[in-house]
């Protein structure tokens, strides 16, 4: 009875097709489960070997770092363990330490051939393997390896950013420039690694890199460079400020506004006041915010004027900037709230004064 029903199902092309799909899906699930089991077993085995490694090799490891004879004996034993186990053991020590102690662990890492394998992995056709190798090389790479790393300049974004991070440590500003000059950051998530890299660069290298600011193609990168320079290298930021403020790109002009907010020069103040007149509201809003950070009484009337701006965020930032200026700014806000004929200006001033009052009350309650 059942077999007759099955045969009748199989005769129907639709049921036959569906049966094949279900069978294929079952095979895929079995393969996936099998793959997961294999991966789990490999991981468990590595952890078991790592445990064994810790049990027999950890105590002599500390001695091996300071005693050449123990070191040789330790390395002979260590070579009996697989590369992933050696990495899992050494990498936490490399990350947690610095200076002479880290240099000794690095020497061990190199002598065990792990750095050579990392460099070899850079040739892999799988980008995630190249990324993993570069992550390992962050602490390990030395100036001798910069020629291998320089070849990554045509690679994908993530690889190039990671390479630039290493290059900022082991290379000069020209090496970093070659890696980044035609790099385009596609989204905001890519900005933070660049910001961190540029912020941690040696001052002299960064100053020299900033000399080539106008040669970088990416607008987001130029913006980040200007902001970092305003904090770390005000002289170079000042040099490019006027040009950045006149740039055709909105992001670069926003960068100029943020940078000018951090610089305490007359030129930067003039630049900010010019940016306050920009045709794009995002730039005006940023300029108003930056003026609030600078806290200069001479900007009160310029800011007051922008309480009438057609865009909400420009008015809000201008009002907040006035409030940041302290009593003179808030006095002007009160005047506008009480006497101005423009409803936008009255609303922005009133809201900011109410917000300020709420903050004062909240602070009073807390204390």
């Amino acid at each position: 009875m059942i077999s007759t029903t099955l045969i009748s199902f199989w005769d129907d092309p639709l049921y036959r097709f569906l049966s094949l799909i279900i069978a294929l899906e079952l095979v895929l699930i079995v393969v996936q489960v099998g793959w997961l089991l294999v991966q789990t077993s490999i991981r468990k085995y590595r952890l078991y070997r790592l445990k064994r490694f810790h049990a027999s090799m950890k105590a002599p490891f500390f001695t091996a770092l300071d005693d050449p004879l123990t070191r040789e004996a330790w390395m002979v034993k260590a070579r009996k363990f697989s590369e992933p186990v050696l990495r899992m053991f050494l990498e936490p020590y490399l990350t947690a330490t610095k200076g002479e102690y880290q240099a000794k662990i690095l020497a061990l890492y190199r002598d065990l051939g792990l750095a050579r394998q990392d460099l070899y992995a850079l040739r892999s056709s799988f980008w995630h393997k190249r990324v993993l190798a570069l992550r390992r090389l962050q602490n390990v790479a030395s100036p001798e390896e910069k020629f291998v790393l320089a070849k990554m300049k045509k690679d994908v974004h993530t690889v190039r950013i990671l390479t630039a991070q290493i290059m900022s440590r082991i290379g000069n500003e020209k090496d970093v420039f070659n890696l980044l000059k035609d790099l385009h950051l596609h989204n905001r998530l890519m900005e933070q690694p660049m910001f961190t890299m540029l912020s941690s660069m040696e001052r002299e290298k960064f100053d020299n890199l900033m000399e080539r600011w106008d040669q970088f193609e990416c607008r987001l990168l130029k913006r980040i460079m200007l902001i970092v320079a305003a904090g770390n290298s005000p002289k170079t930021a000042n040099k490019w400020l006027a040009r950045a403020a006149a740039d055709q790109d909105i992001d670069v002009r926003i960068g100029a506004a943020i940078a000018a907010g951090k610089l305490n020069t007359y030129e930067s103040l003039t630049t900010l006041l010019e940016l306050l007149q920009d045709g794009i509201w995002e730039v005006r809003a940023q300029a108003a915010k930056a003026l609030g950070i600078r806290q200069e009484d001479s900007t009160i009337e310029s800011l007051a004027l922008f309480l009438r701006d057609p865009h909400y965020w420009v008015r809000q930032n201008a009002a907040a900037a006035l409030s940041n200026l302290g009593d003179p700014g808030r006095k002007r806000l009160r005047e506008i709230a009480d006497t101005a004929s423009d409803t936008f200006a009255v609303d922005a001033a009133t809201q900011e004064l109410e917000r300020y009052q709420l903050t004062i009350t909240a602070e009073g309650v807390q204390s």
């Binding site: 950890k58 990350t95 947690a96 330490t97 610095k98 102690y101 880290q102």
Partner: protein
Amino acid sequence: MDSTVSHEGTTIPIRVLIADDNPLVTEILAHHLTRLGWESIAVSDGEQVEMLLAKEHFDCLILDLHIPFRNGMEILEALKKNGNRHDLFIMMLTGQCREDTQGRAIALGADRFFSKPFDPYEIVGELQRSLSPIHQAQGRRS
């Protein structure tokens, strides 16, 4: 060895309490201190630090800011409040090395401030420079 002091035939080792929730840090430091002939005890949370300091004598406390139950600052505040641990040399070892944090720790009685990642040689060298003379003097007094 300059790390210990002889007094009426007995040798008193310098005692160090290491408070860090990262076993890697405590292992490295403990290894180097043991090599000097010093005695070290490692703990991973603030409550254990306070309990041990109340019960036993230590010459030095190596303290991480972020440890469970009671953080480094709370421990420093408690020690300052009690006011009876002037002989305890306190070294902060932390990943948070902002100037205001450093200033606050020093104001609360920390003697040295080191940031992570750390160089064990640098830390042990500093401990030797700072502690050995104090310990010698205490040994002579006792």
